[in-house]
Structure formats: C-alpha cells, structure tokens
Symmetry: C2
Subunit: 468 residues, 2 copies
C-alpha cells in the first residue's frame, strides 16, 4: 500500500493517509501472526486450499478499507465488490463515475489487478520465502489451468521467473504507452490493469478516448498477458522447438484470428474504414478472450452474432498459466479431443488412442479433472443464475453478469454491458458475484472446498497432530 | 398410416387419400427392400448408428409427405420441420393456426409423437423380428439415457414389455380423458401426444381450454411418461425393493416437487386460488421436465426466476428409459456425484470411492460417457446458436429455441414462447433445429457419427467382407 501512498503524496491528496494507516496496521498484524512459527511446515492439500481461499478473502477485506474509510466508496458491499473485482482481475465495477475518485484511489484500484493478476500467493511466496514442499500444494491451488507444466523443477525458482517475466512485460508496456504520449500516471494504471488482465480504467470511457496507437499497444499486450507464461520463458531461452509445441498458445491465437474475422464480416455494413474496423474489433476480441475488460465501443449494441461470439470467447478465456480467466483454452482443447477420441472408440473399440496436447499424452486423471471442472462450473453457474433471478432482471443480464464474473472478464451484456455497471444489484447478489469471481480466479476448487462440509470434519481437532 | 386413413374416412376428409397412396407406396418400397436378405445378420456399432440415424431421417421424409401433398402445409421445409418435430417428440410447431388443419392430418401429427416416443427402431424391432445380437447395438444407439438396465436378458422380450407398457398406459390415459367428457377424437390425440412426451395439441390454446380434471390427468400422465419404464415393470411384478432403489425416479419426482414449490412461491402475488395456482404450476413444470410441451398459460410472461427454473428443467429432462428428452436425470445424478467424489479424492486421496446410483456402482466408462455426452451437447448447442444468430433474433429466443429442440421440449421463451411458433426461422435454421431435435432424440452420438468423417472411411468398400 506504499505505492498508492506515494501517488497520494505526489498529487497532495489527503485521503491517501488511509493507505498509511491501514498499511501500518496490516504490517503490524502480519508481524504478530508470523511471530509464532508453525511446528509443521508441510501443507496438506486441504490446508493449501483453505489457506489460498482464505487469503483471497482476507486480502480483499483489507484492500477495500481505504475505499471505505476515505468515503470514496461509502457503501461497504460496494467497496468490497470493487476490491474483489480488482484482486480477481475481473474489472466489474460499481462506479458510475470513475473520474470522481482521487488519483491515489484509482491507482490502488488498478494496482489490485496487478497484484491479483499474478496470484496473491505466487506473489507472497516469492517474498516470504517459505520452505520446500509446502509451495507445491499452494501452487496447485493457485496456478491457472489444468497444469502449469514442470518447466523449472523448483517451485521457488519457477515463481521468481514468472514474477520477473510479469514485471518485465509491465515495464515494457509502460514504455510503449509513454511513447504514445500517455501521461506517466495513466500509463502505470493502464499497464497494471492490462498486466492483471483486469480492466479497471481511469476514464469513464475506458480506452475509447485514446489514440489508435495506444489502443493497438493495449490490444497486443492484452493478448500477450493471456498467453501461457511458459511461452515467454521458452522464447527467452530460444527453445524454438518446444515453443512450437505449445499447442494451446497456437489455438489461442487461432481463435482470436477467426473471431476477429467473423466479427469484422458481421459488422461489415457499419460505416468505418477497414483499419478502424480492424482495430475496434481486434480490441474487443482481445479484451474479451484475455478476460481484461477494457472497451473502446459498446459491443452490447453489436448485432446478435457478434455478441454471441464475444460471449463464447468469454467462456473460453485465455491460456492456462496466464493471468487471464475463463475456462482456459487448454481445457477446451482437452474436452474437444476427448470427445473426438470417444467417437473413435465407439467406431473401432480396439484402437483407443491417448489424447495428445502439444505432442504429449494427457493423463486420464487430467481429462477427468477437466470434466469435473466443467460440472462444477455449470453447478456454480446455475446456482448463481438462480440467485440473480430473484431480482427479476432479464435473462441476458443475469447470464452475462455471472459469465463475466466467473470468467473474470468484467463487462457483460444488457444491464451489465460495457457502458453500464454493477451497482444496481442487491447486496446479496453482489456477494454472489464476488463468490463467482473468487471461485473463477481460484479455478473453482479451493473456494468450493471452503463450503464443502467434509473439509472441516475434524479439521480443528487434529491440525497440530496430523503429519501427512 | 392406416390409422389416420380411418380417421379421414370417419370424418369424410378427402385429403386422407394421401395417407392411402403414400402408405401403399412405402409398403411396396419396404417390401422390395427387404426382399434381398443380407448375408450377414450381425450389426457392428458403426452400422447400428448409421442405420438408426438414417431411418429417422427416412421416416421423417416419408412422414411429411401427406402434409405436403395435401397442401395442408404447402411449404416443404415447414412440413418436414413439423414431422421431424413430431417423430422426435419435440412438439415445436410452425403452424400458426392448428385448428385449420384437417382432422386426419392433426391425428397423423399426434400419432408421429406416439411412434417417435417409443423409438422408431424399438417399434420396428418388435414387428420385424430380427435375430439376436444385432438388436443390442441398435438398442444401444436408440435407448434413452446412459443405460437402460438389463432388466430382461433378451432384447426382444425387453422391447415387447416396453411396448405393451406403452400401449397400456396410453389406453388407460384415453379412458381417463373420456371420463372427463373429452371427445374420443381429442382423447386419442391428447393421449398419443402425451405418451410420446411430444406436445402437439389439436387446439390453438393447447390445453388451456380444458377442464381442471383433464389438466390434472394430463399432468399426471406427463410425469408418468417421463419415468423410467423399468419402474412400471418393477411395480407390475411387485418388486418393491428394486423399485425403491430406482434412485433416478425418486430424484426426478423430488425435482418436480421442489420446482413446483419454488415456482408457486415465486408466482404468489398472482391473483389465483391455491388450487388453481397448484394446478397451473404443476402442469407447466410437468410439461417442461417431461419435455412434452403442452401448455395452459404463457409461462414466457412469468417472472424471471420461474422462467429460469423452467429452462433448467428443460435441460435436466426426464428419466433415462422413458419417452422424454433432455439430458436425463440419471446423467445429472452421475455428474453431480462424480463431482462430489472428486472433491473427496482431493481431500483424502487414499479414500477414493466408486460412484453409486441406486445402490449399484457406476462403471468409470459410463461416467466418462456422460461427460463426453456433455461435451458433445455443448458443442452442438454452441454451433446451433451461432447458426441461429445469423438471423439477428435476440439471445433468449435463440438460446431457448436450441434448448427446446435439442431437449425435445417444444416451446421455449421469447419469440418461440408457448403462444408463438417456429415459422419465422429461415429455411436453413429450420434444418439446424431439425438436426438438433434428431440429435437430442438419438442421444447425440448416432447422428454425430453420420457427420464424423472416419465413420465413412472404407465403409462402402468392406461392408460385405467384414465380420466383426
């Protein structure tokens, strides 16, 4: 919280004091908690899940305090919603007038994206330096997608490489934005929001008022932050052959190209030059598939086919191992391939082949995991839809609000479209959507664990006794 | 086609002649085709699928000819749509004024439901008497749901029992309807439509103008025809213990009770007595979950929560082994249980239990089959939605049109709501919806086989040579 404090000092904003107070208090609390060293440093899967889920809840609770106490977002559920939306890199906002906020608050808002983007725990892990085995379970709970790939044997080193790639890309993006004559403050904000694939902007018009150059830069970086970070690692090390085998990334890029082409054809009659059309469509497609949520036009007013394509992209989402959300391209690939394989096995029962992604066979447990993910996803989706329907908004609004939350996208269609916001939802449903955001961000399971009764069975009894 | 001919003679309708002509021609064609006995009487899975899918296409093509030639439905795609909708027991209609049709045509329309309901091939199997092994593959392709259960070892006997239960229930229903002072003609029509869980009615107002007694009778029988037919078999043989273990049926009834209660509470402010409210809600819930499609009110005007519940029921559908459509209750149970099991295995990796449904362990292949079904279902759904979006209708209309077709329900929401019809769709999209109906009816795979290229690889070459 020291960074927004600096911004506050630079812009002489008094509300920045709250960052100092809350920052010092949480530093104190953290110091007190970590004083007592645990006897057993090894995490079980269960503890890993619980710690992950609880720390997201905790960081959101602490993170929303500056908004609330400073009176910039006087309603507590709203302040919490904005912060959860920030840390989960969703970008769904309850603010009707973003520009009314103090600059330090806006920066904190974008910065939550940046922190959330990398995953709070990968972040903490690199800083706090815990010992060996415990990281693996946390990583499994935190890392996006079915498997991050064992690119570096040690989790610590892996975390640091991800971390440096992330910082590096953010800095490069800031440089590119500055080259487009963006102010330094706006460049940092935009880069933080893009890096976390979040989507909080500092202007009410999101990215619409910026130059074509800035929009292209943001488009390219949105796509880049949706790419599996292993890819950058492989490219940096010039391992071309392995990079060529990153099937997920190529499918991801393929989907983007097809979607851009389809939407452009669908929007053909709109009076725009080819270049403008390409830029606008690429921007919206990139913002949705990377689940960022910046916008330059109100795509809710697009024809039906284009809207549907955007909704589908929302569900597909970005690559596993990126900062983006959604179901992840790799899951879609595995589902599709296992379906085709099943066809083959009906026809020729003796010739059953394993599913291959990127040249490597996918283990049956991974395939099962993908399907169970799908089932859990549908369950959460349906329950959330039922909760939202109590309010009586139309089906498209409810559907896209849940989709935009659980996929960490941000803007949806209808009443939660790009030019609207989420403030009209009742308090209870804001909590439902917050649950969806965190569930989506943590790949569903850690948060579901929290509400699954057997998780807690005998948990408090033998925490200290059990060695697994 | 002799039955509608009789109706035509009774009501002295000249257009009934077409049933005679087309009936005789198809009899002749069928006689010619079966003259040449195949050398190899054993079906492979591949041939089973192809035969099943092709016979549905063929029977629909022949079945629509009376509508078309008599000029009662002068547009060929419309006539075909109506017939496919009939044989697949969907009940989606393109007719704006049902009552304008001749009585024999209306009967043929309801009767296609009755034929389709039991499955054209189970029907044919009981009549044509083919030899042993070949039936099993056809049954696998045709029977609804993940597994019919080996209740009777021989497929022939099994088919006959299903067949007699079906006829018996239809006759009982006719008796009950006649007791409510329905005309004999209307009673037969209504019973045929209900038995097939189809939903074609002889009145424009569907079931709204009938007495409360008739509506209750239809409600009860709609629910009954959505029950796994094994249940009736077990009840007839007084095997109470086994009947108690039909978990699927109890879940099905539980879902109905919960849905009725929820919708009734949601509709509370509507000025109706408790009894009227209960009847109306029960009727709509029963019509949707059994995927019949009769209606007594325009549920598209209901509040959002109730509409959503109905859409969810549409997807769940009826029990496996019934005449209803949808994803089937047993699939939903298996998905849900496998998800819970997966949670357990994350927490306690050593204690992995098999999934049990109705006290019996479910084989992993069945679970995998359910998930592959889900994936294929989503694929077809998405592709259909994309096709429909080209027309630019709103998302709820497209979504519910596809849902109502693939689940064989009939009425949807928005422009395909209970008081509307499907006539406005372009010809191409009518074929898309027909594809969905047949795909849904045949549990997706046989029809997908037809469009899966490897199915045809070398098919014509070694049909006569291969013995599997």
């Amino acid at each position: 919280m020291m960074l927004p404090l600096i911004i506050a000092i630079v812009y002489r904003e008094r509300c920045g004091l709250w960052f100092l107070i809350i920052g010092l208090l949480s530093l104190l609390a953290g110091f007190l908690i970590t004083r007592k060293r645990p006897e057993n440093m090894v995490f079980s899967m269960r503890e890993g899940c619980i710690v992950t889920a609880l720390s997201w809840l905790l960081i959101s609770l602490v993170g929303c305090l500056p908004f609330f106490f400073s009176g910039q977002i006087p309603n507590f559920p709203n302040a919490l919603f904005e912060t959860v939306s920030g840390f989960t890199t969703t970008g769904a906002s309850i603010l009707e007038n973003v520009e009314a906020l103090a600059k330090c608050m806006l920066f904190w808002r974008s910065f939550t994206h940046w922190i959330g983007g990398m995953g709070v725990l990968v972040f903490l892990m690199a800083v706090i330096r815990m010992t060996g085995g415990s990281n693996m379970n946390l990583m499994r709970a935190e890392s996006t997608g079915p498997s991050v790939g064992k690119m570096v044997p040690k989790a610590m080193r892996s975390a640091r490489i991800l971390y440096f790639t992330y910082i590096g890309l953010t800095v490069i993006m800031i440089v590119f934005l500055l080259a487009g004559h963006m102010t330094f403050y706006e460049a940092i904000n935009t880069a933080c929001s893009t890096a976390g694939t979040g989507g909080f902007a500092v202007k009410n018009s999101s990215m619409a008022d910026y130059s074509a150059y800035i929009q292209w830069v943001v488009t390219v970086f949105m796509v880049a932050f949706g790419v599996n970070f292993n890819m950058f690692y492989l490219l940096l090390l010039r391992r071309w052959r392995q990079a060529r085998h990153m099937e997920e990334v190529w499918v991801y890029i393929g989907i983007i190209i097809v979607a851009v082409a389809a939407v452009m054809i669908n929007l053909y009659d709109v009076a725009l030059t080819f270049g403008d059309n390409l830029r606008t469509v690429s921007f919206q497609v990139a913002t949705i598939i990377s689940t960022t949520g910046f916008t330059t036009v109100d795509f809710d007013k697009w024809p039906e086919l284009s809207r549907l394509i955007l909704v589908l992209l929302m569900f597909i989402g970005s690559c596993a191992g990126s900062t983006g959300g959604g179901m992840k391209v790799s899951r879609v690939i595995i589902m599709f391939k296992s379906m085709i394989r099943e066809f083959g096995s009906y026809l020729f029962p003796k010739r059953v082949k394993a599913i291959k992604v990127g040249g490597k066979a996918v283990e049956p447990e991974v395939v099962r995991g993908v399907y169970v993910f799908l089932a859990a996803y549908i369950c959460i989706f349906v329950v959330s839809m039922i909760c939202l329907s109590f309010e009586g908004h139309d089906m498209v609004t409810n559907f896209s609000a849940v989709a935009a939350s659980i996929n960490n996208t941000g803007p949806g269609l209808g009443m939660v479209g790009p030019s609207e916001n989420y403030v009209f939802f009742a308090g209870f449903n804001k909590f439902v959507l917050m649950f969806d955001m965190i569930a989506g961000r943590l790949e569903l399971f850690p948060l579901l664990m929290l509400i699954y009764p057997p998780t807690w069975k005998g948990f408090f009894k033998n925490t200290n006794r059990r060695i697994e």
